[in-house]
């Protein structure tokens, strides 16, 4: 029943965005992590994944008027655009045909579990306590050493390691409870 209500809400959001493109932001907010997780799972590179994610949402925005509601989540449409964008990108960088086939095959065969786990994880990072979130961002995005982070925050290396541990532990526990 909840899923039906969500679908109905999503349909209203889509229709609103089709009428007024400025309402697309709401669809973006609710689907950003899913698209990004889908893309980064395949390209394994943050910068490239960000470029492709941006391309997917730009395409979605420009084609939102053509979207026809068929009772499936909007994310499915976005992931189809993402899969096509990935195929185009690989074709452009002159990768071999075999790899393209692998990618598409992977897209269809892979369960959503892996992507869903990342979606939850990425969303949970935004809800971490500020000090833990800062350590996670510095360590995993900026790839700074514990010593550098400790120097920046004016704390001991041990304290930073502890924040890192607590952050990862909190993410694991909350992800486990949500999945």
């Amino acid at each position: 029943m909840n899923a039906i209500a969500n679908l109905a809400d999503e349909r209203l959001l889509i229709e609103a965005a089709q009428h007024d493109p400025s309402r697309f932001a709401e669809l973006y907010e609710s689907n950003f992590h899913r698209v990004y997780a889908f893309v980064v799972r395949r390209v394994h590179d943050r910068t490239e994944a960000e470029d492709l994610t941006a391309e997917v949402f730009h395409q979605a925005l420009s084609n939102i008027g053509r979207f026809e509601w068929r009772g499936v989540p909007f994310a499915a449409w976005l992931l189809r655009i993402a899969a096509n964008t990935l195929a185009d990108r690989w074709q452009r960088v002159s990768r071999n045909q075999e790899l393209q086939a692998d990618v598409l095959e992977d897209t269809e065969a892979e369960t959503e579990e892996d992507v869903e786990r990342r979606v939850i994880l990425f969303q949970l990072v935004e809800r971490l306590p500020a000090d833990q979130r800062l350590v996670i961002v510095r360590r995993f995005i900026d790839q700074r050493s514990v010593r550098e982070i400790a120097h920046e925050l004016g704390r001991t290396e041990g304290a930073v390691k502890q924040l890192q541990f607590r952050g990862l532990q909190g993410l694991r526990d909350k992800a486990r409870s949500q999945s």
């Binding site: 493109p21 400025s22 697309f24 943050r46 994944a49 730009h58 008027g65 996670i136 995005i141």
Partner: protein
């Protein structure tokens, strides 16, 4: 102590993971292995500002796109809610005939009431107007026109003191066969050497006269000789009174009383154009691609022909002349008052467009 050791082990494993992300995870105890799987996923975490920047970018793009003009689809309604209202589908709520008839009757009664009140209001106003002396608006010269057969009006007069205002209201000076002194409202020479009574050239009809001279057709009370020139009171030229030229009164020229000219309204119907050929374009205006509208004043005579055409709003480049030339050929169904054709002054707009 054990915790400190776990922090260090975790950090060393993360350090190795960052150094070579593609390398397989080293076996650790289950708790650490779980945290390292989380860490492995976090290596692909999007930059926190990327999401915000992309959103801003999309909003900017979206704001530049126009709103869709396609009709909004009807909202999906849960069939369990108000089943009688949304029984078949939204918008197909059955209407009972009795309700429809009642609604129609109420609306019809309201319309009749509004009409009746309107008619009553109009009748009351008409009665009041009939009992009130006419002091402004359109004044026909008919009361000044002598009986047919004695004097046939054929001319008029006008003039003015080149004032900023139209001529003020007043009575006509004594009509005479010749004019020595034109009438004036604003006396500029208080001590003339030879005082001669002002007159207009017209048959003496023994019209009522007051001490204040002026144009009886005017509604203005501020003393003014009018915008015309050459003495007299009016808006044209000559020593007479009114819109004409010469020493007489009214439209026309050369003296005598001009024909009474009406304006549309107050029982005078508007003339209707029945033949209006397009004006020609002047070569100069065509070359300059000059376009616009010329507005003319015209008196539509009882025979339906435009007379006394004057330019009110000019376009220049020869288009004023072309407009007058065209309107001269136009024919109208004349204005009528009490069922009789009467001359009427109207504005005529002549448009010039190249495309």
């Amino acid at each position: 102590m054990n915790n400190i050791s776990t922090f260090d082990q975790l950090d060393q494993a993360i350090e190795a993971m960052i150094a070579s992300p593609e390398a397989p995870l080293v076996k650790h105890d289950p708790q650490l292995a779980e945290l390292l799987r989380v860490a492995s996923d976090l290596l692909q975490l999007p930059r926190p500002d990327f999401k915000m920047h992309l959103k801003t970018e999309l909003e900017w793009v979206a704001s530049a796109r126009p709103l869709s003009t396609a009709p909004q689809p009807k909202p999906v309604v849960d069939p369990d809610i108000l089943p009688s209202l949304f029984r078949n589908a939204y918008g197909t709520y059955p209407v009972r005939r009795i309700h429809f008839a009642a609604s129609l009757a109420v609306h019809a009664a309201a319309a009749v009431l509004v009409l009746a009140l309107g008619v009553m209001a109009v009748k009351e106003t008409a009665v009041k107007q009939a009992t009130k002396p006419v002091s402004g608006g359109v004044v026909s010269l008919a009361e000044y026109i002598p009986p047919v057969g004695t004097v046939r009006p054929h001319g008029g007069g006008g003039g003015g003191g080149a004032d900023m205002l139209d001529p003020s209201k007043g009575s006509l000076p004594r009509p005479a066969n010749a004019q020595i002194t034109p009438p004036i409202v604003v006396i500029r020479n208080l001590d003339p050497k030879l005082k001669i009574e002002p007159t207009i050239v017209a048959p003496n009809l023994h019209l009522p006269q007051t001490s204040q001279l002026g144009d009886p057709l005017s509604g203005l009370m501020t003393p003014s000789d009018g915008r015309g020139v050459g003495g007299g009171i009016g808006s044209n030229a000559g020593g007479g009174v009114g819109a004409g030229t010469g020493p007489g009164f009214g439209p026309g020229n050369g003296g005598n009383f001009g024909d009474g000219v009406f304006t549309v309204g107050n029982g005078v119907s508007a003339p209707r154009v029945i033949y209006d050929p397009e004006p020609e374009y002047s070569q100069e205006a065509r070359a300059a691609k000059h376009q616009g509208t010329v507005t003319l004043w015209a008196i539509i005579a009882p025979d339906g022909r435009p007379r006394e055409l004057r330019v009110e709003r000019s376009l220049g480049m020869g288009l004023d002349e072309k407009a007058i030339e065209a309107v001269r050929t136009w024919r109208f169904e004349p204005a009528k008052k009490d069922g009789r054709p009467v001359p009427v002054m109207i504005e005529v707009e002549v448009s010039f467009h190249l495309y």
